[in-house]
């Protein structure tokens, strides 16, 4: 099976996964006890208002009809092209805004935080893991292992608050929250990622300020996630360094750095790549706490707010969005895996 066939097969397999996810989310929201409309009005709504909200939300239709409408809304390309986001239903707020619009307006903030956090986690984790394996059983190895264990065990909000206190309150180097200095107008929306949009706008002030705002939250998440990468890299490297091809490489007189980084690390990288995909999903969960700690206006903060207001349709939309994202990341990781490891395609 060639790479192309593998990718196509993998993409096709994503469809039933998503369908299952959408169905489960839809059913779970419907079998929860209590009528969301009644809960919304807290017995104070007039029958007309309640009926109107049921109609807006489509809850006046039979369940199968709601399901079909819901699925159709998600895959409605025409709607997607018209609005720039999929139809995930209406929010249960008085203003009845589109949930898709709300989610897509906050999602770039979470994505930006996730990307930078993953970069920090990967770089710190893989480098320290490699160094640790090379210094097996030495003091440095013990220190790095200790660091990995502590960072993995430490709660994200705790490390976040410590960073805020040190770098924000005591040193006044970095802001303690929000995406950009309030005195600076955010860059014009192109991707929604402030750093990228600042570069596209060619505005250094905005780039510097958005990077400053991004540093503490992404460092917090990145360092916490790096723990697992340290341990995984170390274990895999230790195993790989004992293999024959490494001995052969050394016997050929290759430099140790070449043996370590070009030969051993490349072979030990595949399980790390898989873990990166899984951690991306974890990272989105961690983002809820990080965003709350750093007042980061992303999907995590959005979900917390929606839960507080029992906005069922918005929560449903956000869960679907998380699911979509994790599915896409898994797809990308699998394709990369196949690219790096030809055995997968056999």
């Amino acid at each position: 099976m060639g790479l192309r066939v593998y990718i196509i097969t993998r993409i096709l397999l994503t469809i039933p996964t998503l369908l299952l996810l959408l169905t489960m989310v839809f059913l779970i929201m419907r079998v929860l006890p209590g009528d969301p409309v009644d809960l919304h009005f807290e017995r104070k709504g007039t029958p007309e208002q309640i009926a109107q909200m049921r109609q807006i939300l489509g809850l006046d239709k039979p369940l199968w009809n709601q399901y079909v409408d819901y699925l159709w809304g998600v895959v409605d390309i025409g709607y997607l092209l018209r609005h720039g986001y999929p139809n995930l239903g209406k929010s249960m707020q008085v203003t009845s805004q589109d949930v898709g619009g709300q989610i897509f307006s906050v999602f770039p903030a979470t994505l930006e935080l996730a990307i930078y956090s993953m970069i920090i986690a990967s770089v710190v984790g893989i480098l320290l893991g490699t160094v640790s394996s090379k210094s097996y059983n030495s003091l440095l190895d013990h220190l790095i292992r200790g660091f990995g264990t502590v960072t993995y065990a430490i709660p994200v909000f705790f490390l976040g608050i410590i960073f805020q206190l040190i770098f924000g309150v005591y040193l006044h180097w970095l802001p303690t929250g929000l995406r950009i200095n309030p005195n600076v107008e955010p860059p014009a929306h192109v991707t929604g990622l402030y750093t990228i949009d600042s570069i596209l706008e060619g505005n250094m002030v905005k780039l510097v300020e958005s990077l400053k705002a991004l540093l503490l939250p992404s460092l917090t998440l990145g360092i916490i996630l790096s723990g697992i990468f340290i341990r995984l890299t170390r274990t895999n490297m230790l195993e790989t360094l004992r293999l024959d091809f490494v001995t052969a490489a050394r016997a050929r007189g290759l430099k140790e750095s070449t043996v370590t980084y070009d030969y051993a690390l490349r072979n030990a990288f595949l399980p790390i790549l898989t873990m990166m995909g899984l951690q991306f999903a974890m990272l989105l969960g961690g983002a809820i706490l990080t965003e709350t700690t750093f007042t980061w206006p992303g999907l995590g903060s959005y979900i917390v707010g929606r839960i507080n207001y029992r906005d069922y349709t918005a929560i449903q939309g956000a869960v679907v969005m998380f699911g979509l994202f994790v599915t896409l990341v898994s797809l990308v990781v699998d394709i990369l895996y196949a690219y790096f490891d030809p055995r997968i395609r056999l």
């Binding site: 707020q93 206190l165 929250g177 929000l178 005195n183 002030v205 700690t293 707010g305 207001y309």
Partner: protein
């Protein structure tokens, strides 16, 4: 012959040896010469190479020096740029006040709908009312001209005339006139049936105001159904803000419009600021920006003092505190927690501002749950409470115990509940004993508290109340937490035995407090179980409401409070102060009983 031959042979041999030696020597010399030549050539080449290398090195050094120079220049340029950024931000910072808050606009900035503190606060900055309360007022009834320069009421109190200030311009250039005022009130009243939760509905505008009439370009008349004591209080609240007809279509509720701040509110931009940006996702504000309004009628007096106000929204009190301590924001206003305020008072990097309070907290009893339909039980619980201990433990210097539902400083504030005492456990035991509750047969009930931060330190308060009740030895209390949406739902469904609730004033008059004893939205069923006293209290309330005689009003409210202390439908607990935390250079905050934050008075000193 032999000798000759021998001699020749010897000579030949010698010749051979000499020749060989000579040849060998010659060859060696030649070889050495060749090596020498080769070495010389190598040397020459090496010398040449060395020269070239030295030249290259010089070139490299030059390039490196050049690169270093360029790098230093770039670095200097970068530093200069960063310095310029810092300088421009610093310059901008003086013209801009960054305010951090955990509040958010609940739904809308439409005076026909909005009924929340923060929404009203924004409305106060961008629009105006006919009258307002003087900054620094102690009683909340010192009214001053705003859009109206004068006013007068008829002797029966049923007709009020307001004369408008002239030359107040809307941004469209149109002059504000009496028709604008009439249309604003007529619109709000007409929308009441469609917005039962809106401020005009809750403040009974439709029952108070019979009709409005334009007497002249600058004069508007209000015909009331009855004389109404707090008329000026109502006129000064944000539900009475004037709207711009261009953005306030008749019978249309105006709501947030993404990307269009002007279309997001129907208010007439005649206040010190105008709404230049409002970014919101769901019900959570991301950013609100107010810019100086060039059309503000009082601009010639130097207001607003700060050109721009930017509101940034924080998730909770702790992140807000960190932001103000880190200097990310100039000012934190609502809600830094009481305990944080106490510790911030000793921090030299921030300034804590304190003002008198009007928010009141009280304990409620669900009378549909026996035995709370018996006033003796309610009185027993009221007597067991030790307000002073709660205030001293949780709000030292930031709250005052109250024995009246009308806050201190306000007309008719009294101390009717003092007759029950504080921690008066003798009375508690005696009253409960009448109903058979003893140390072996304890009164058992659930005490509910709000657990999501809507009220400050509510879990700690609940723990104290539980300890105070159980100190009597005849009660057993189970604490029940609920987040704010559940708490409200439980309140509406009447499922909480005992719970604590808070009230924030709409206008500063006992009229806005005394009704709490039987407020229908508390859903306590007081009217069902105590119809006679309920009717008596409502009659007194209406009598106080529909008179402008202050002395009579005080007497009437005192009578209501006496009945309330006897019935204990709800029990007043304490009134919290108002506080804000700013950078030391921020000045001009006026915190008074109105609880208003007048941002146009605030400035950042040099």
């Amino acid at each position: 012959m032999e000798k000759i031959e021998l001699s020749i042979a010897v000579l030949v041999l010698i010749g051979i040896i000499v020749s060989s030696g000579t040849m060998y020597y010659t060859t060696t010399v030649m070889s050495n010469l060749s090596t020498l030549t080769s070495d010389t050539a190598t040397l020459t080449e090496n010398v040449l190479n060395l020269t070239s290398t030295v030249r290259d090195l010089a070139t490299i050094t030059g390039t490196l020096a050049e690169a270093m120079g360029e790098f230093t220049e770039t670095l200097a340029d970068l530093e200069a740029r960063l310095a310029a950024i810092e300088a421009s931000l610093a310059a901008k910072a003086k013209e801009t006040l960054i305010v951090g808050t955990t509040d958010a606009v609940e739904n809308t900035l439409d005076p026909a709908q909005a009924y929340d503190y923060f929404g009203w606060s924004i409305m106060q900055q961008i629009s105006s009312t006919l009258v307002s309360v003087k900054p620094g007022s102690i009683s909340g009834t010192d009214f001053q001209p705003e859009l109206a320069v004068s006013w007068n009421a008829s002797t029966d109190g049923k007709i009020w005339d307001f004369t408008l200030r002239q030359n107040i311009r809307l941004p469209s250039g149109i002059e504000l006139n009496a028709t604008h005022v009439k249309d604003s009130f007529d619109r709000s009243i007409a929308l009441i049936p469609y917005i039962p939760d809106g401020a005009p509905a809750n403040l009974y505008y439709d029952q108070i105001i019979n009709r409005t009439e334009v007497l002249s370009k600058y004069k508007v008349r209000f015909y009331l159904n009855n004389a109404y004591g707090p008329m000026l209080g109502i006129m000064s609240c944000r539900a009475s803000a004037i709207v711009d007809p261009t953005y306030a279509p008749w019978m249309v509720q105006v709501n947030y419009t993404a990307g269009d701040a002007r279309a997001s509110t129907p208010l007439a931009f005649v206040g010190p600021y105008y709404l230049s940006k409002w970014e919101r996702v769901g019900d959570k504000d991301i950013e609100i920006r107010l810019d100086k309004n060039p059309y503000y009628w009082n601009a010639t007096s130097g207001y607003p003092k700060t050109k721009t106000i930017i509101f940034r929204f924080y998730r909770d009190a702790s992140t807000l505190r960190l932001a103000v301590e880190a200097g990310d924001i100039d000012m934190a206003f609502r809600h830094i927690s009481a305990l944080d305020v106490l510790s911030l008072q000793t921090n030299p990097n921030v300034k804590v501002w304190l003002g008198p309070g009007a928010p009141i907290f009280f304990m409620c009893f669900q009378e549909n749950h026996a035995p709370f339909n018996d006033s003796r039980v309610r009185r027993a619980l009221a007597a067991a409470i030790n307000r002073a201990a709660v205030v001293a433990t949780l709000f030292p210097g930031l709250a005052n115990a109250t024995y009246s539902i009308i806050p201190p400083g306000m007309l008719a504030h009294g101390d009717a509940f003092k007759e029950l005492g504080d921690a008066n456990l003798t009375l508690t035991r005696s009253l409960l004993a009448q109903l058979g509750y003893t140390s072996t047969n304890k009164l058992k009930f659930d005490l509910w508290y709000e657990s999501s931060g809507h009220y400050q330190l509510s879990a700690e308060q609940a723990a104290l109340y539980k300890a105070q009740f159980e100190a009597s030895g005849v009660m057993e209390v189970t604490l029940q937490p609920a987040d704010w949406p559940s708490y409200r739902k439980n309140r509406n469904n009447g499922i909480m035995d005992v719970f604590v609730y808070g009230w924030y004033p709409d206008y500063f008059d006992p009229d806005d407090y005394a009704f709490l004893y039987w407020a229908s939205w508390l859903n306590l069923h007081y009217d069902v179980w105590n119809p006679t006293v309920y009717a008596q209290q409502v009659a007194l309330y209406d009598q106080a409401r529909y008179t402008t005689n202050a002395t009579l009003r005080v007497q009437l409210y005192n009578q209501i409070e006496d009945i309330a202390a006897d019935q204990c439908s709800i029990v007043p607990l304490f009134v919290t102060k108002l506080w804000a935390v700013t950078k030391p250079k921020v000045s001009g905050l006026v915190l008074d009983i109105t609880q208003d934050m007048r941002y146009w008075l605030i400035y950042i000193a040099d």
